[in-house]
């Protein structure tokens, strides 16, 4: 079936399945569907009409309407439209039909809903735990509203995660959560036949700290951007920007132009530093440590630039609702332009010699293949998608802040291997540097902060930001008294790590670190970090001696 020409027609086509269709704001619709119709409606929207699966959110709405809300958010990049499919699940029912047979990437989202809300995805091929620990008791669901934010249920004492078992005679190699070739806390199980990986299994959740629950229970709108920034140590600014975008969409506030441009500059600074960091780490993973040192040398200038503009190397703390907190003075602007041209020069000479190094390129070429079909089927995002020939970038498709005024390319490579992802990122660094330069040269004058008076309750906000790793999606339902009713963070790694299995199968064990690394996985992003409440007695401190004696268990 051909894709309708306009968004209006698209909505007309989808409406047939819906009970109710509401236009939330420009280019954003909500379709309420019956829970039984979900697989059919989403199959049609996703497979026939080519929607991009962005996120799925479960909300405990029992206090309002005695049911749970399920929101499936699909995007149409060509049209810049977002459509939310909403279904209601009655409390006494507690189950919903799984859509994984039609929409493969819904796998983790449904498991997460099962973990946190206790709703059962009927027909899911493998509804095991995703984020909760193995010894978490049954019937304790953290995102239900009757679960207090600081409650820690007692352990069941059983650790029995059902890892997959293969019929074939294979060796099993555990990989992570602590492993010298992996910087992130995740566990892979490789089933290997000799050197070849025949299958893998994944277990995550080691870093889940429940920032969403904390925000719903304890924080107000003014505080969340700062906590959101701590979700990730690399792309934290993207998260605060994304949250703020969702709320500003609800409040319908006009952001001063200059603030928009400053936000754009910082987003791109973050992209440059993140990609340079990744290029360094990727070099390190294939044993090319001089590359690692050189990329990080160039990156250091970007860190100094960020420090100068924001007062910190990372976690800029610049965003508030309605603007930014610091202006860029004329001196700083000139100094930034100088630094950017320096970095551009140094980066160009470095990337030229590195990409012509056969030892480096040879390790990446033809490794970790992801076809365009699979990239599309799993709705992967960011450089992983663009490395497989899918041209998708929310900076161009859903323009926010000052991107519509700036001139930039979206690099795409079609090979789908680790090298393609590397090349995409390498080009993106140059594009980002050019964006920063353009923005700094033509930044408009004016105020940098406007004030929001009122944020209405029970409204839906969606924030879409292109993080260095891919599309970051924040879904917010606003609540009363300046608090969020539901906040769901979908970090890009959440979408990308689901295809790691496809990339790994058929390759050798020696390539596994760089294949997983090529996703640029960020687990604390995916699992949403938070600040630990030290006073509640939930934290224990240990002396160094005690640590050595192994008392920390």
């Amino acid at each position: 079936m051909a894709l309708p020409d306009s968004v209006e027609q698209l909505i007309e086509v989808l409406k047939g399945k819906a009970l109710k269709c509401t236009r939330i704001r420009e280019k954003m619709w909500m379709l309420e569907v019956k829970k039984e119709d979900l697989p059919h409606a989403l199959d049609h929207a996703y497979n026939n009409l080519n929607g991009q699966f962005m996120t799925m959110v479960g909300t405990d709405d029992r206090s309002e309407a005695n049911d749970f809300l399920l929101d499936y958010i699909l995007g149409w990049h060509e049209k810049g439209a977002v459509v939310i499919f909403r279904a209601r699940v009655r409390t006494e029912d507690g189950s919903f039909p799984s859509i994984t047979s039609h929409v493969a990437c819904a796998d983790w989202y449904e498991r997460e809903v099962k973990d946190f809300l206790g709703l059962n995805p009927v027909g899911h091929h493998r509804p095991t735990k995703l984020f909760l620990p193995d010894d978490w008791p049954e019937g304790s669901y953290p995102l239900r509203r009757d679960y207090t934010y600081d409650l820690r249920p007692p352990s069941t004492g059983k650790e029995d995660y059902p890892f997959s078992v293969l019929d074939k005679k294979v060796s099993v190699i555990p990989y992570g959560p602590y492993h010298f070739a992996m910087d992130e806390p995740m566990h892979f199980r490789f089933f290997v036949d000799g050197e070849r990986i025949v299958d893998t299994d994944f277990r995550g959740g080691f870093n889940y700290r429940g920032v969403e629950k904390l925000a719903e229970a304890k924080l107000d709108y003014a505080k969340i951007p700062f906590i959101a920034e701590r979700i990730c140590g690399i792309c934290g600014f993207t998260h605060s920007e994304c949250f703020v975008q969702a709320i500003e969409g609800v409040a319908e506030v006009d952001i001063p132009e200059r603030a928009k441009w400053i936000r754009t500059i910082l987003l791109e600074i973050e992209r440059v530093h993140s990609h340079l960091l990744w290029l360094g780490v990727a070099s390190h993973l294939v044993g090319f440590d001089s590359g690692f040192m050189q990329f990080w040398r160039v990156r250091e200038k970007i860190m100094l630039l960020a420090e100068m503009l924001t007062g910190n190397r990372k976690t800029y703390g610049m965003i508030t609702l309605g603007g930014v907190r610091r202006d860029i003075s004329e001196d700083k602007r000139k100094e930034s332009l100088r630094l950017i041209s320096e970095v551009t020069r140094e980066y160009k000479e470095l990337i030229e010699s590195v990409t012509s190094l056969q030892t480096f390129v040879g390790r990446l070429k033809g490794v970790g293949l992801l076809s365009k079909e699979d990239a599309r089927r799993y709705s992967v995002v960011g450089p992983v998608a663009r490395g497989s020939g899918v041209s998708a970038d929310v900076r161009r498709d859903y323009p926010y802040e000052a991107y519509s005024h700036l001139d930039f390319d979206i690099p795409v490579a079609s090979e789908g291997d680790v090298l393609a992802r590397t090349i995409v990122r390498a080009h993106e660094v140059l594009e980002a540097l050019s964006i920063i330069e353009q923005a700094l040269s033509s930044i408009p004058n004016g105020p940098v902060q406007s004030y929001l008076n009122y944020i209405p309750a029970e409204k839906i906000g969606v924030g879409l930001v292109e993080a260095p790793r891919g599309t970051d999606v924040h879904f917010v339902i606003t609540g009363k008294d300046n608090t969020v009713y539901r906040w769901r963070v979908r970090a890009p790694t959440y979408a990308n790590l689901q295809v790691a299995r496809i990339m790994l199968i058929g390759h050798t064990l020696a390539d596994a670190p760089v294949i997983i690394g090529s996703i640029d996985p960020c687990i604390s992003c995916m699992e949403r970090a938070t600040v630990i409440d030290v006073n509640s007695g939930n934290e224990r401190t240990f002396s160094r001696k005690a640590c050595w004696q192994g008392e920390m268990k």
Partner: protein
């Protein structure tokens, strides 16, 4: 230049950029957001910073006649919201960033303030210094001040609220205000 030689050339030309850190320090930019520090003389203990702190690094506890405001650097995210919200400029972000310590105590700053009693109900409700601050502002603005102060500054919020609702009820009885 391409290939290994190119990389070699870049590495040599750019040279060493690291330095022996604790001995030599790199210059810090203006406006670095480092360790927040209290000026206890200026602080009036109003608790505005506690409300603004996103990460709960600043906490406030009232114990009988003492208000304790504590700042735990272990939880501080150096966002600087406290600095922005302080009415007297008592809390400022310095450029100190080396906070590592062997003991937890080093990371805690605690300030205690005497609380004042509400003249109506006798409960403790605000700090002495807060009152002083308010009074210094009143001095210039109001002439018949004893009367005003008795009903506003020296009573706690609950009492003020009760007094107002009682007054309102009276006015309704007299027919001055309607439902």
């Amino acid at each position: 230049m391409k290939g290994v030689l190119g990389l070699f050339e870049v590495a040599i030309r750019r040279g060493r950029i690291t330095f022996k850190y604790p001995k030599k320090k790199s210059p810090l930019p203006e406006g670095l957001r480092g360790k927040p520090e209290f000026d206890f003389e200026a602080c009036i203990g109003c608790g505005g910073c506690v409300n603004a702190c996103p990460s709960n690094a600043l906490t406030l506890t009232d114990k009988e006649d003492v208000r304790v405001i504590s700042l735990f650097y272990g939880r501080c995210t150096f966002c600087g919201r406290c600095e922005e919200s302080c009415p007297t400029g008592a809390i400022t972000l310095t450029d100190i960033f080396e906070l590592a310590s062997f003991t937890r105590k080093d990371l805690e700053t605690v300030a205690e303030y005497r609380l004042a009693k509400c003249r109506s109900c006798g409960n403790y409700y605000t700090t002495d210094k807060c009152l002083e601050d308010v009074l210094s502002a009143y001095n210039e603005a109001i002439t018949d001040y004893d009367d005003v102060l008795k009903n506003t500054v020296f009573v706690c919020t609950e009492c003020k609220r009760r007094a107002w609702s009682e007054k309102l009820a009276e006015m309704r009885k007299e027919g001055v205000v309607h439902e």
